[in-house]
């Protein structure tokens, strides 16, 4: 069990969490900018509206000032000042003495700006400084008098400010939520990856049969697990093949090697040039057999591990089969066997011609070697070809003793030779090679009862 801080730091360093964090950060920057712009713009619009209102009021007061005496404007300002509400006024004479208004002093920020502006004030403080926000414009009413018309916008600004705070608070909550979701997602991802890691570790420790659990949700992790499992399946098959080959070398090549050594030793013990010569010839013969076996074993192993390579081509398979049959026809005849070829179609397949030749040759050689009785009379071998829509079936049938149903799977294995056949020369790899060639092409081999005899069907797909 991992320590908790370790688990957290692992979750934080996952890709899922990083993606979540980056997304949240980008979102934060953009939404922060948008909200800021929104707040700034709404403030500007509100201020402009206030300025328009103030302008209208200023026009009214200006008209008042022009129509009547000085007291009239003083009264008007005083009345408006007393009315309460957001209106702010300040009226002073030429010397700066306050004549009327609810502001305690002339705000210096406004006096200097003919278009008006924003200032802070206090309704209570003597010197007029304070923290309430207001907008005001100076009004020219002539006669050296100074009139300021303003409006308290503090409530409005405070509301906008609070809106801003709320916005940013919401952003904060979203950020937190996003990061938490990212963390949770990364934990889930980690858990799925961890099952893969656990499986990988036990495979590395030697448990080749271990597979990654598939959750069944069909998500991308399931896809990955399925593919990895298929890959492991293939690797295991290859490793088993390799192990089988080394077992074969141990069991099936050591025996002939021992025999070879024995015959050389026996020749040495005997005296005389003829004995030596016989012994050496026998040794070379045995060595040649071993080399043949070794080459076949390597070829089978290579085919089982490999795939069709650049030597694959399209070729007419009927032609190839009848050519091989023609090669063996005299051999069969010499042994008193009939060899019939009935090939009507000549479909093309994609594959390695030399390997198909060798597979067909092996099947015919097997039929010749194992189907005849001691006399061999009356034995008939029939070679045929079925042109199926997607594949071709090459059939080699004989009317010999056949192979018992329980042995049919077994004889495809390497070095398996049935008791009756051990007297004939052979490596015990012929059918293994046929099967390896079939599998390389994506096809198969099956052994059937020919009633009587054996019928071997080599199926090769037209498109490998």
């Amino acid at each position: 069990m991992m320590a908790l801080p370790d688990r957290i730091s692992r979750a934080l360093s996952t890709t899922a969490f990083r993606v979540a964090a980056i997304t949240v950060a980008v979102y934060l920057v953009f939404s922060g900018t948008v909200i800021g712009l929104l707040l700034w713009q709404s403030n500007r619009v509100l201020t402009e509206q206030v300025l328009v209102t103030l302008g209208a009021e200023a026009d009214l007061l200006k008209a008042e000032a022009q129509s009547g005496d000085r007291d009239a404007i003083v009264r008007a300002v005083a009345t408006r000042s007393r009315a309460g509400g957001p209106g702010l006024y300040f009226l002073a004479d030429r010397t700066g003495r306050k004549l009327a208004g609810n502001l305690s002093r002339l705000p210096p920020e406004i006096a200097a700006h003919p278009t008006g502006g924003v200032f802070r004030y206090s309704a209570d403080a003597e010197d007029g400084s304070g923290d309430r926000l207001a907008v005001a414009i100076p009004v020219d009413i002539g006669a050296g008098a100074q009139l300021i018309v303003g409006r308290d916008v503090d409530e409005q600004r405070r509301f906008a400010g609070e809106m801003g705070t709320m916005y940013f608070l919401a952003l904060g909550i979203l950020t937190l939520g996003g990061l938490l979701a990212g963390f949770a997602a990364s934990r889930i991802a980690l858990k799925r990856v961890e099952t893969i890691n656990t499986a990988a570790r036990s495979i590395m420790a030697g448990d080749m049969s271990r597979r990654i659990a598939v959750s069944g949700t069909g998500d991308e992790y399931d896809g990955l697990a399925t593919n990895l499992n298929a890959m492991l399946e293939r690797i295991e098959a290859l490793m088993n093949g390799l192990r089988e080959v080394s077992d074969n070398i141990a069991h099936d090549l050591k025996t002939p090697l021992t025999r070879l050594r024995n015959s050389a030793e026996a020749a040495l013990r005997e005296r005389g040039e003829d004995a030596y010569r016989d012994g050496l010839e026998h040794t070379i013969e045995k060595a040649d057999e071993l080399i043949k076996t070794f080459n076949s074993l390597l070829l089978v192993a290579k085919l089982e591990a490999g795939a069709l390579d650049e030597n694959a081509e399209r070729f007419a398979v009927g032609h190839v089969v009848s050519d091989v049959a023609e090669l063996y026809e005299p051999v069969a005849e010499e042994r008193g066997m009939g060899l019939g070829v009935a090939i009507a179609a000549d479909p093309e397949i994609h594959g390695n011609r030399q390997l198909v030749v060798q597979a067909v040759a092996n099947l015919i050689e097997n039929a010749i070697k194992y189907s005849g009785g001691p006399v061999g009379g009356g034995t008939q071998i029939d070679i045929g070809l079925n042109d199926l829509p997607e594949a071709v079936e090459i059939c080699v049938a004989d009317n010999g003793p056949g192979i018992a149903p329980e042995d049919r799977e077994r004889v495809l294995k390497r070095f398996v030779r049935l008791e009756k056949s051990r007297t004939e020369p052979g490596t015990g790899l012929g059918l293994s090679l046929v099967q390896a060639v079939a599998r390389l092409h994506g096809g198969s081999v099956r052994l059937e009862d020919n009633q009587p005899g054996l019928r071997v069907v080599l199926t090769l797909p037209k498109r490998a």
Partner: protein, 226 residues
């Protein structure tokens, strides 16, 4: 015949040199690809025997280089790699024949002698003659002492190959490769049966046999004892 053996394994190289000398041929040795290349360029060799795996310059590169420089000496490639695609690669590099290790010396000798024969201008020989046996390559007719012999197409090609190498030993593998274009090891005596069928047609009714079996090696067609 003068042979250059380019092989880095000293024991194999000396075995070949000794065996070739016993067969009546002279052999020089080179232990790596660079030495092999310069010797092959200077000396007038009839055949080169080149191992695929060589120090300094591998066998296939050496052959390619020699071919680029206009050296046309026939090359027999020796290799532990024996699959069909390895053979194809070897021949593409400019090799003329390919033999997989381990090999029988008789097989190697037969192939080397066949290659040396190729170097002799054989430009479209229209007929092969061995004693009274005549094979006309234009009319595809075979006669012995003027008597026509009927051959199946495959028998004709078998005889053609044997007569092209008249006087030389031709192995069963060479026949399977050149007459049938098959590259596998048959487990039955299939070639022997074909040869004896051919022999029945060309030798049976005549006093002097021309097609001989060479024990432990293969066959030869010649005028005189094997």
């Amino acid at each position: 015949m003068h042979v250059l053996v380019v092989e880095d394994d000293r024991e194999t190289a000396h075995f070949l040199q000794k065996a070739l000398k016993e067969s009546g041929h002279a052999a020089d040795l080179a232990g790596d690809g660079e030495t092999g290349q310069s010797l092959a360029e200077q000396g007038a060799y009839d055949v080169l025997i080149v191992d695929r795996m060589l120090p300094r310059l591998d066998g296939l590169s050496m052959i390619r280089e020699l071919r680029n420089r206009g050296v046309r000496t026939p090359v027999l490639i020796l290799s532990a790699l024996g699959e069909v695609d390895d053979r194809v690669k070897g021949l593409r590099a400019g090799g003329d024949d390919y033999l997989t290790k381990p090999y029988a010396y008789s097989e190697l000798l037969a192939r080397v002698e066949a290659l040396a024969r190729r170097a002799v201008p054989e430009e479209q020989e229209t007929r092969y003659v061995v004693d009274g046996l005549v094979l006309d390559r234009l009319s595809h007719r075979v006669t012995r002492d003027g008597e026509a012999i009927q051959l199946q197409p495959r028998e004709y090609r078998l005889l053609e190959y044997l007569m092209k190498h008249a006087g030389q030993v031709v192995t069963r593998t060479m026949l399977l490769e050149h007459v049938w274009d098959y590259h596998f090891d048959p487990q039955t005596n299939v070639i022997d049966v074909h040869v004896s069928r051919l022999r029945a047609k060309i030798d049976k009714n005549f006093e002097k046999p021309l097609l001989h079996t060479v024990r432990g090696a293969g066959y030869t067609i010649r005028d005189g004892p094997a």
